[in-house]
Amino acid sequence: MVAVAQHPNIEMRTLAEVVKVSGFIGNFNVTIKQKAKYVDWDLCTGCGTCWEKCPSKKIKDEYDLGIGLRTAIHKVFPQAVPGKPYIDAANCTKLTKDKCGICEKVCPTEAIRFNDKDELITEEVGAIIMATGYDLFKWEENHGEYGYGKYPDVVSSLYFERLVSAGGPTGGKIVRPSDGKEPKSVAFIKCVGSRDDTKGKSYCSRACCMYTAKHAYQVKDKIPDGEAYVFYMDVRTAGKNYEEFYQRSLNAGARYIRGRVSKIYPRGDRLVLKSEDTLMGMPMEVEVDMVVLATAMVPSEGAAELAKTIGFSTDKDGFFQEAHPKLQPVETFSAGVYLAGACQGPKDIPDTVAQASAAAVKVCGLFSKTELATEPMIVEIETDKCSGCGFCVPICPYNALSLVDLSFRGHHGTVTREIAEVNPSLCQGCGACLPACRTLALSLKGYSNEQLVAEVDALCL
């Protein structure tokens, strides 16, 4: 990440979002909203004096899923690039009540700017790569059998990640949220919200089998005489060395039980799981200190709106739609917009890196050309039939149609009228505009009205 930030050809903007995109491949106009940071990063050295002195210390840290606390002025996470802070305006006493301002006083380079405002910046780009990642399925909202989130020791896998992370709020120690004690037994439940047609998503979230094997191993490794139970339906560890990784967890003593957990309920300060070992055909109850749920990967919040803003499609689950599941995994139907990573579908790091490299190369390939060859089967307009009614313009999902002036010599001098024009680089040949054209001026190359009628004749006559 630091290499990216320091690269002379890369401009990195954090705390910013894309609010408008117009144009087409090779010629996009992107409007970016740079949100107010309240800190001038050209002056800031990241020394940390400000967040040490900030009196608003009791804010739950979102990055740590609320395990730890942070201050109003803070660095998003320890490894953030650039390693500089911004102010969370909603929780800053100066920005809400005009009191305090300590950070401004102690900053050695006078980098605090309380009068900072959101800024709109426009950039012209030739291509766009989407890499917005994923969020976790909100299991607390509909899994009543697991407690609706009211049992503090039933946590998500991401929460567990923060616990075992050496740079995390517990320094890598696995502790129970309820009392901070080290659990002696941890149960992992896979497929919470995944492969679930009634309460969750129908798909498999792909990465959970591997990271659960990792988590189970970590319990065996970090907790002396600890027990790790993994409740599963399948173990999908299909990548290179993945099977061996899973076997390593088994060899370390992680107990894999094939069966979905029907209910979690508290007994004293422990938790009871009702399951079935389907391989033995025996209903089974287990009492543990902590439960970790491997929850489904869903598109990151706001992904659908972003896709609409930029102008490409999402699939049935809200992930960004690839142009072809096998042959074009990193392209979208909108030329010039590429995909990389979990925003296209659940996947793990090796696959994300592979996709990112592919998308980068696709863009390089694009930029190496001075001319583009586009899909030939696009719309063509017979200008003398076009009445300029403009019905087709709003129908096009790719904004490929527009009305332009056409001037020609008429009886009494130059006449100007409006007709429709198609942008050949935006048009995908979907044909949605055709039924709108009342004068039959629009037709699809390769699928012209005459050709279609001839096909029907051949079948029916």
Binding site: G200, M233, V261, K274, E276, T278, P283
Partner: protein
């Protein structure tokens, strides 16, 4: 208990029977991916020879006769926990019910006690239009050879005014008899 089974291509008769049971239950066994959540949550699973997941497995393997002879379909309490939690939306409780009715219809009564209880209950309803609790218990005890079962509760119940030795009929009890007969005629679908 280990049975080795030789799997043969499905017989038409079995396929039709499974289809019939599925239709009556309004669900499809092909949806089941054998995750075990139904058995895990079943409060009676501890006492079952083939807990719910296994009943569905037998049907998936077309071993429908074995499923009809299972004891578990009789002690299913119809609590519906399985159907409520099934991630594939399979209505297991309805399936167990449909299997029980089919087993009864075929005379494959693995659990004589439960069958006797149901028969005694419906007998009272058919004769009087309302359940006749004292009669139910007497008929049940008799037909299952447990003459003195719950005898100690008889007097306490009577003392509390909670049981009547005499059945109460409704005016329309003949209508009820006719309902029973017509339902049987129409094939109980």
């Amino acid at each position: 208990m280990v049975n080795a089974v030789t799997l043969i291509p499905a017989r038409e008769h079995d396929r039709q029977l499974i289809s019939k049971v599925e239709k009556e239950a309004g669900t499809s066994i092909n949806l089941c991916y054998q995750c075990g959540k139904c058995t895990a949550g079943c409060p009676a699973a501890f006492a079952m020879d083939y807990p719910p997941r296994q009943i569905i497995r037998l049907l998936q393997l077309n071993l429908v006769d074995q499923a009809l002879e299972a004891g578990s379909i009789w002690i299913c309490a119809s609590c519906d926990t399985c159907s409520t939690r099934c991630p594939r939306g399979v209505d297991i409780a309805a399936l167990m019910d449909a299997m029980r009715r089919e087993a009864l219809y075929q005379g494959k009564i693995t659990d004589k006690k439960v069958a006797a209880f149901n028969k005694a209950f419906l007998n009272g309803v058919r004769n009087f239009g309302k359940a006749y609790e004292a009669g139910l218990l007497m008929q049940y005890n008799l037909t299952t050879g447990q003459l003195l079962k719950d005898a100690g509760l008889g007097l306490p119940m009577m003392k509390r005014g909670k049981v009547s030795m005499i059945p109460h009929s409704i005016k329309g009890k003949d209508e009820i008899k006719k309902i029973f007969d017509r339902a049987k005629q129409l094939g109980g679908e």
